[in-house]
Symmetry: D2
Subunit: 406 residues, 4 copies
């Protein structure tokens, strides 16, 4: 056993940290000011309108801090899942900063679908602009009318019709639908409901500008739009795409989804750990600089103990995430189900708890947009549902545990 | 001991429940639809623009369901704090519905200040329109630059100057500042910083239209404006009011604040319990009507157990709240500090936990404005800071506990 | 609503508290010393050998502090379940002291069975000596070979044979089997396994000296014998008793058990609350008198906050217990299932948690017999299984909750 | 990063597992039966009287499964702390089985003190018989009259007197004092109370047969003697030992203690993880083989979820323990204080929680000596105090955390 990151990972981390310090933390601050002034209504952020964003993206790309998530040597940087873990954690320290490095969800998961399951034509047409950061994408799985945590419930139909494929159905929680560059939806639906349970699903590539794609509304989370990319409800009304847009075959959608969700889930968890570290740091600094009842907050009541518990919880979550990453690298997603489900339950919850604590330390300010805490909180809260609610993951873990002995 | 509400309380509850069923639940539904259509930006609700709101208020008033919180026979309905508990709980089931009955924070607390500490002139000028629901008010205590959970930190100055009083300082988390009828601020500041620690504070009545009152900005909580009344940052720049606006004397502000916070806190807790009951009800209904993996959600994993634990937690929170109300009625706020602090810690946390659970049952929808859950969640989360953070209340309880034995 | 105990309950409490102060606390101390000296092996306590015990019982009886649990005016003191609550709590402050007042489990539950379901002959023969404290008893329900939390699993047979009844089966966790005066077992078994599920059980009175009653062994809990009364495994090998020993009818055992468990469970909870209060008191006193790192333990880390949380948890558990007692008095056990199950889950857990905390404050000493904490802990831990494990009670609560809406 | 144990560690683990399967699990079963028959009083186990124990020790030694904890190539097996982790975990699955491999506390910690700080004479005289398993030892630090979690409170005096050293003081929780072969005490006391805070302490080697060593009593934990080695109270009344028995110098005791506690603490944690794994395994097997309400317990209520949560908690505790072991190997104890304190808080708590859950699954039996659960529970509960209570470790973590930012 060895807990030191690889040389390659360390080298990238050094470069990334420098970039964060020089560029991203200052940008976070500037943008928060910019947003307060330019967005009095507060309903949608000005993130994409900030004049510096594109500059930062270009610089990140020039420095090779681009598509770090993709294990491919040519298209990404050839980093393993485990190599990527400390990098994603670092990005997680600033809300949404992963976009600066083209490493944001759901694009990363969608690019992985295209990378692993797309044919050459599809890669050229869709993967390349996504890798270039010129296009953004959404993933359409969850439906408003059924409990989509059980994918067999899905009702959207994806049917062949001559040289075309016809899509009908309603999806929501399509993350990224509010991004100005959103162009592609990967849609999951059913083709043959008489087939075996896991052979009914199909995945298809749908341009968002296709006829019949109706963006019904953007959804609020806790009353706000989870800007800058948001989540949307989108209806597919007799949408027609050419057969070339089919990913793999009719009926292979379920298997693709399983493959997609493994790395996607763990990337979320890596970022959660970085966000939790940041929240703890903010809490400690605030608690050392504000006084009440004659003492710094840090010395009051159980505050010090809460920091200690946060430290321990974060360290445990990080180790579990690294272990899951290592297992994925060694034996693949399928053999790492316990570990992936475990971090999916642990990491967002740790982020939620640490942020909740940090908010108490910050008083009212902690709830506002003056600090990144409320963004972290929403990120955590939403993640406890996204990519499978905690309860489904716990069920998965117990099933695998039973198999050992019963 | 006897756990049955008084005859009077039961009679009001019966009337109130009928009113809720006939009017408020349907209004909640209509308004949610109305808001979706008329408020695509989502940054501020349309609550006060809904054509039915004033009608409902009038009807509530005509039925005697008005100012139920005020123990006074003439100005209120002569209900004790304990009598009021089941009524406030019932209102808590629909977010913000307390306003329909002129029982919403912070107006109730402000009316109590005027009722108990205002002179006849002040009552006539300020209390009457507040009791009539014609004016709304804010309470300005928390400041951005200091840890205001320790009131001795407050920096705002309230100084006599001839026949006038001059106010200078910055306040934030002034709840209700976004209400269209907001007209009055009760401002807490310091007059003589050389006086004994608890004799330095003063409370003064400030019309929001006074010169020098600057509404700096509305604050977001979790990215949204906690509409329809919101929280604001307001600066007092050399604001001058006549001496008649002084509540009691210079230096009596701290004592008034203590008196104000007791009933205010417990009213919040009563509503939390109603909201938690509603959240549990919604969770159970949803879990019985959605299926995954071949079973209703209610039968999956630990869901049933979670409902049981929620039931127990809510019942315990209610009992503790009723007990605190009874103690306030019997021996007053000062002798009920342990109980008031206890419910202030317990009730919002129970609401947060039950709502968090209900959200998991609702999936993505639970985060959105399609259900009242996210409003309940924000209510709970904000209350864990408002009127004193949990940690300060726990400190109070332990101090009183030590006194018993040490 | 009214949270003041009845005049009668208050009068008894005053007398009981005086008795505790004058007699029981000193006895606890004397006995702890006595036991250390006379019981170097530690495997069984010397409680019943202490020369003062009988004297105390006599004095309690003379003062009318005897059989307080029984609502009957003649045989008990005519106290309602709710009246009894503060008294049982007070007894709970000293481990096992309920025996001094003839109010200890399982005798109280067994006496209630005889009181409610026994005929005149049975009352004369068995209830009278139990009420007089001359005989002690056990309740035989749990079996080693099946999950007895589901009473339909029970395998012991109770069959009629002419004028006799024949009992065959194995029971364990027969609490009180180690008491020197243990003379009677109430045994639950099945008579007709083809009958309807809840009409199969029978309860019968078995003298422990009957032929075929084999006390197989005394059971350890956490390695010790839970002295002074202990729990045993007892086998019934073709035990024969006269038909007169049948309680009610063949097949009525299940209904009797339900009736027995209601008050029995709540009495346990009342005592838990007293024990938890005592543990908190001990923790606070110890934390104020021991120093580390230059401060009393009370001022270190999160200790003060832990005391506050214990205060709140105990108060909530007491209120819930009182509420359940009130409901039993008002509408009976059957209509109070949610409340009885709720306190059965809450009260022992609160005692376990508070004691666990108090142990940390006491350091190593807290684990030893120098303090009553380890006894309280075992009491709590065992109660989370006795009379139905927590999980079964939560299941009951959720079933009743579902019925409200689904 | 790499989560695979070293080749050497894997090879030892394979051998150890075979030994456990062939010898130790059967011995556990035999001994439990043996103990029930030969120890009806239950106050002290028959572990050391079992005819097989010495045979097993010899066989372990012959197979090189001996002193695995000691990093030394000659005296131990040259395994690093990290290499040892999976081995100690495996031993932890059977209560007390570490003694079979001469790897039990407190001997391992005492041997490390002699190994690192003893001179050649001391090693020859004391370390060799300990390494041979011919002698057992105790560590005397905790005192009954002061909060010993703060070592500066210690009152025992260790004073030079010519060629002798004189020891006076009272110690308790001397673990292992009940072992039949206990021969040596390492005693910590103070020599110069006017010296700098951390230069006052001295450690000295005291033969238990020395004049003036008075074993006052064996202490109960939860009413039993924590057999087979137990914890004792021992008084040192003018005990005289030759100067040769001084470890290092007068005044170096504090530093030695710090060095001792690092590896000692982590060994405890490794064993906790093995015990927790065993408890989970037992719970799952029991829950799959017992039925209630028509289903295996595994399928009832929240049981499956509890198993999943236990799985995740154990995995996280193991990873944190391995990480701490790696850090100790890489940078030493002093630079690993956060990690050592973290596992010391986490691992016993996880064991306590998992065992508590497993007990609920086992019903009454789980509390008895029919299963190893109650032993595991006591092990966990005692460890939350031994080698520093949780609260002190959390305080340490928070202090180090503050240093990062304040």
């Amino acid at each position: 056993m060895n807990f030191r990151p690889s040389e390659k990972s360390q080298a990238y981390l050094k470069k990334l940290k420098a970039f964060m310090n020089t560029n991203v933390y200052p940008f976070e601050k500037e943008w928060m000011e910019f947003n307060k002034e330019n967005n009095p209504d507060g309903h949608w952020t000005t993130w994409h309108e900030h004049p510096k964003l594109d500059k930062l993206k270009n610089e990140a790309r020039e420095q090779g801090l681009w598509n770090l998530f993709l294990p491919d040597e040519q298209m990404g940087q050839g980093l393993s899942v485990l190599d990527y873990a400390p990098l994603a954690e670092e990005m997680g320290r600033v809300y949404n900063s992963a976009e600066i490095f083209n490493c944001n969800a759901p694009d990363t998961g969608n690019m992985e679908v295209l990378y692993h399951f797309g044919n050459d034509e599809q890669k050229k047409k869709w993967l390349v602009p996504l890798l270039d950061g010129e296009m953004k994408s959404v993933f359409c799985m969850t439906e408003p009318n059924v409990a989509s945590s059980d994918a067999t419930n899905i009702e959207t139909s994806i049917l062949p019709d001559g040289d075309e494929i016809v899509i009908n159905g309603k999806k929501w929680w399509a993350t990224g639908l509010g991004h100005p560059d959103a162009g592609l939806a990967i849609v999951m639906g059913k083709t043959d409901t008489s087939a075996e349970k896991h052979k009914q699903h199909t995945m298809v590539l749908v341009p968002l500008k296709a006829a019949g794609v109706e963006i019904k509304r953007m959804l609020t989370t806790f009353g706000a739009y989870d800007a800058p990319a948001g989540h949307g409800e989108v209806h597919f009304n007799n949408v027609r795409v050419p057969k070339e847009n089919l990913i793999q075959n009719f009926g292979s959608g379920f298997a693709i989804a399983q493959g997609r969700l493994g790395p996607g889930r763990i990337h979320h968890c890596m970022r959660c750990i970085g966000a939790a570290e940041r929240a703890l740091q903010l809490a400690i600094i605030r608690s050392g600089t504000r006084k009440a009842f004659g003492k710094p907050l840090a010395m009051l009541g159980g505050n010090a103990e809460r920091f200690a518990k946060a430290r321990v919880a974060i360290d445990q979550a990080r180790l579990l995430t690294h272990y899951a990453a290592w297992k994925i690298d060694q034996v693949g997603v399928k053999e790492s189900m316990t570990e992936i489900s475990a971090i999916k339950v642990v990491a967002p919850q740790v982020l939620q708890d640490v942020t909740d604590m940090a908010m108490q330390i910050h008083g009212g300010g902690g709830l506002s947009d003056d600090f990144p805490l409320s963004s972290f909180y929403l990120q955590a809260r939403a993640l406890r549902l996204a990519d499978g609610p905690d309860e489904v993951h716990l069920g998965m873990i117990s099933r695998l545990e039973f198999k050992k002995y019963l």
